[in-house]
């Protein structure tokens, strides 16, 4: 019983990371029908931004500001989210928007996204070298033990953050006018300017949301697994993308369900089998889900009325 609860908590934590990253894929896809393959690397950049912000604010060795760790944490979260959002918007501005203006086929935009991801990875490698970075400890680790179940405050924080982000985004998408525009644009792009809504504003807002949450995932991940390297976004990005597709890409509920599903499957497999089988089993199960429902769990096949 204790082992089960322990595994559920671990699965929720991993699911939270996947969900936070998956929603970036799903938001951009929902608006542009573009798979932003650079998104995993935007998450990586988010973790690095958090690292540099934290190190600078913490100080030490006679440099930086020398602020107390808890205050540093409180500042690093918004700083990483804002700056990572800036990175996402910059990519949109310099890479995707020019192609869109020229009416390029979606295939070229997807290839551009892949290349942007590689540029971010290798740009990081060139700037900061291949050595890994150790993320400083910002929050004193507390372990709460109930019987044989132990939970760290960090795990709780990650899970709570994912839930809050979901509620926040759900509110935006269903209740606000810009959220309605985000849903409407995927249905009929042409009619958006006819409503007086600038298409670019909707797209930029979408990138701000998706990349900002990748920045949040970046700092939370770096605090939980404090070793950073330029390729850290690649595998987790692919997995989150698959989670988004399985959940039904284009729907934020799908990103969260898919993310948590992947977390549960991975932890579940490891609980019973050698950990080397984890990804094989996980992706086989996801394949079967797509085989049964190709549009993903929340996806709907679109119908048009003449």
């Amino acid at each position: 019983m204790d082992a089960l609860i322990q595994n559920i908590i671990n699965a929720l934590q991993w699911g939270s990371f996947y969900a936070l990253i998956a929603l970036g894929y799903t938001l951009v896809y929902g608006v542009l029908l573009l798979i932003n393959f650079a998104h995993g690397d935007i998450f990586m950049v988010g973790a690095y931004i958090a690292y540099f912000a934290a190190v600078f604010l913490l100080g030490g060795h006679g440099e930086g500001l020398g602020l107390p760790p808890l205050l540093v944490f409180g500042l690093t979260v918004p700083i990483s989210m804002i700056l990572t959002a800036g990175v996402g918007v910059t990519l949109e501005r310099i890479a995707y928007r020019p192609l869109r203006r020229k009416g390029a086929h979606r295939l070229y935009v997807v290839i551009t996204a892949l290349m942007c991801g590689l540029v971010l990875e290798n740009g990081n490698l060139a700037l900061f070298g291949a050595s890994r970075k150790k993320f400083p400890e910002l929050v004193d680790k507390a372990v709460y033990t109930f019987g044989n179940v132990s939970v760290t405050n960090l795990k709780i924080m990650v899970i709570v953050a994912a839930v809050l982000v979901f509620l926040f985004l759900h509110f935006i998408v269903t209740r606000t006018r810009i959220g309605m525009a985000m849903r409407a644009i995927s249905w009929d792009r042409l009619a958006i300017p006819l409503m007086g809504v600038p298409v670019d504003t909707v797209i930029v807002f979408t990138f701000v949301l998706g990349s900002g949450m990748a920045g949040l995932a970046g700092i939370l991940f770096a605090m939980s697994y404090p070793i950073l390297d330029p390729y850290m976004g690649a595998i987790i990005g692919w997995k989150a993308f698959i989670a988004a597709v399985v959940g039904g890409i284009g729907d934020i509920r799908g990103a969260f369900v898919g993310g948590f599903l992947l977390g549960f499957i991975e932890i579940g497999v490891v609980a019973f089998f050698p950990s080397t089988l984890r990804d094989l089993f996980a992706f086989t199960i996801l394949l079967v889900i797509l085989w049964i429902k190709p549009t993903g769990i929340f996806g709907v096949a679109r119908t048009t009325k003449i």
């Binding site: 409407a184 009929d188 048009t304 009325k305």
Partner: protein, 247 residues
């Protein structure tokens, strides 16, 4: 003579290398209902998307000529500002409603140009639209893709009204509607014109209905205007009769 609201001057536009309008000129005065009639492919939709400043590939590029609104060229105005700053709305061909949104969400989104106005203004706009089209009020919580074709057309007109427009362009509003619904939509347009002074530019293939509603009309044929005059004149014109009114 009332003020000229819209003036299209010797407009030439092209999709890629193919010229679709070969120097079209016409004007619409404040408070008027003007119709552009013509057969398929005459350039009616092209004219409206050009005025709405939609970007390519949906709309063509302007090669020469000018489009003036209240005396000023709007060629440099982005499409969303045509709606939100100039208060010119287009009800596009094929309606283009957002099927994944509810009726009410479609209308709420269309009120985007009023987002800085007090909430009471948007409420009044909702009331106007729901009074005009009680069917929409009944179905306001439904996903709009579930509406019938006629209801979707009402929604498309309703959205334009939510934007606070003073000038409304409609592209084939009768398309796919039963005669009864067609009459309802046309009756609504007349009501808007007479009661609110709405200026209307109507593009139609159904020349008969359009000329009965309009004050003036232009006949467009393969990118050129071949006839113009008051609606009565055009209805009596033997050429127009022969080509567009069925004898």
């Amino acid at each position: 003579m009332s003020e000229t609201l819209l003036e299209v001057k010797d407009l030439r536009v092209a999709y890629g290398r193919i010229e679709a309008l070969h120097g079209v000129s016409f004007s619409v005065n404040q408070g008027e209902i003007v119709t552009l009639i013509g057969a398929n492919g005459a350039g009616k939709t092209t004219t409206l998307t050009s005025i709405a400043r939609l970007p390519p590939p949906e709309a063509p590029k302007v090669a020469s000529g000018d489009i003036l609104y209240r005396g000023e060229s709007i060629l440099g105005v982005p499409p969303h500002d045509v709606v939100s700053k100039l208060n010119v709305a287009l009800v596009p061909e094929g309606r283009h409603i957002f099927g994944n949104l509810t009726v009410e969400e479609n209308l709420t989104l269309a009120a985007y140009p009023r987002r800085k106005a007090p909430a009471s203004e948007a409420e009044a706009a909702f009331k106007t639209v729901y009074d005009l089209f009680p069917r929409l009020a009944e179905r306001r919580r439904q996903r709009s893709e579930q509406l019938s074709g006629g209801e979707q057309q009402m929604l498309a007109v309703g959205r334009a009204l939510m934007s606070n427009c003073q000038f409304i362009m409609l592209d084939e509003p009768s398309m796919g509607l039963s005669p009864l619904l067609m009459q309802l939509v046309f009756k609504t347009l007349r009501q808007l014109n007479e009661e609110q002074g709405m200026t209307i530019l109507l593009v139609e293939q159904n020349a008969n209905m359009a000329l009965r509603l309009a004050h003036r009309g232009y006949v467009l044929d393969t990118g050129e205007i071949i006839a113009e005059g008051s609606a009565d004149e055009l209805m009596d014109d033997p050429e127009v009769k022969k080509a567009y009114l069925g004898g």
